[in-house]
């Protein structure tokens, strides 16, 4: 369990950046998307998501903007910045290399 938590902790930023890069979105929907896309594997603690989003914003990787919906409700949408896109591209490359290397060792080709 703690191994899973450590893995998620190390990749939280990349997961959030990936979702925001796909489409500008807000906190509540990010939690739902993560759960849906991972078939329920990623169940983010709701309270920890917002500090993570604000950390990314402070680092200049995303930018939050308030939007008022026709229903009158307000939501803070997060948009990707050019710095965020560059960081995401770097992280994806590192992740793909890492995943390939791990797979080569843990699931060696038979025959």
């Amino acid at each position: 369990m703690s191994y899973e938590r450590e893995l998620l902790k190390g990749n939280t930023d990349a997961l959030l950046l990936c979702l925001i890069n796909h489409q500008p979105t807000y906190g509540y929907r990010i939690i739902k998307e993560l759960e849906k896309r991972s078939n329920g594997y990623f169940q983010f603690k709701e309270g920890t998501l917002y500090p993570a989003l604000h950390r990314l914003e402070k680092a200049g990787l995303i930018q939050g903007k308030w939007q008022r919906l026709p229903s009158g409700q307000e939501r803070r949408y997060y948009y990707m910045t050019p710095k965020g896109q560059k960081t995401l591209a770097e992280r994806l490359t590192v992740w793909q290399d890492f995943a390939t290397a791990v797979a080569l060792i843990m699931q060696p080709a038979t025959g």
Partner: protein
Amino acid sequence: MKAMSTKLKYTDGLKDYLRLDAAIEANVVRELKAHLEDKSRELIESGLSKKEATATATKLLGSPRIVAKQMYEVYSQGSWRQAFFAALPHLLVAALFAMRCWKNTFWLIGMLIAIAGSVIYGWCRGKPAWLFPWLGYCLIPVMAVGILLIYLPSGWAWFAATAYIPLALLVIFSVTKQTIRKDWLFASLMLLPIPIVLGWMLALELEDKLIWHEQLHEFAPLIALSFVVLALTVATFIRIRQRWAKIGALLTLEIFILVIVGLGGKSAIGFGGWLILVLLALLLLLGPALLERKIRESDRKRLKSPNKSTRRLLSIISARRN
């Protein structure tokens, strides 16, 4: 109504622990409120009552204390530039003694202008963390008047002291109280030099002008060193994220500086005097935390009172906080 109060209780709890700039704090609270509304709506659609939905939504969001702590750690770290600017007043005082310029009028006027300018600039820019070490030096005229009392004839000195001490305490208390409304740690940061300045004043034996001048020349390098360590303390404070580590850094380094003052001041301070200085340092560093609790409790009580004018007054205080 009950669901509304659960939400309010949560956001109030969050505000109690956030201690961030007003604009950031308002953004965070607004965002979490929007999240609670979304989550509550989802839970109501799944069959829960409004009251149950709000209670579950706040529970799922987690303890306001933990959320606020994590949010605080995102914003509490200042940049290197801010750390340098916060340490600058102490570095200027250190340079004053290292270069023995305490009689240089230009240097002193320059310092006064720098202090006044920085305080006005920082005050108008939303009271950032770097402002408070500068603000601490604005209390020096209050202490300087106290020093001048020593030179009055003995009968007059006692008479003046009885009027001066309550007045000086009133000034220090009201400035501290205003600072505490932002964050008690900033008040500690502001009051940090007081035990050190008092320690050196005791060591210098101010009653005798001749000894005083001789000792000032002798102690100058150590006085400079103590203010360099003070500058490092402030810079460390600004750069650290965790609140407990900030408090630890202030306490440890302040005691370390008092050890320098105690050893440098030779027998003039004595062990008893040194212990009093340490107790004073602890009081000035941790006292603001107790004062903050008292202020918040009395604010909460006043907010609960039905008096409309009091509520309006509190909302003005809250707006002025930052």
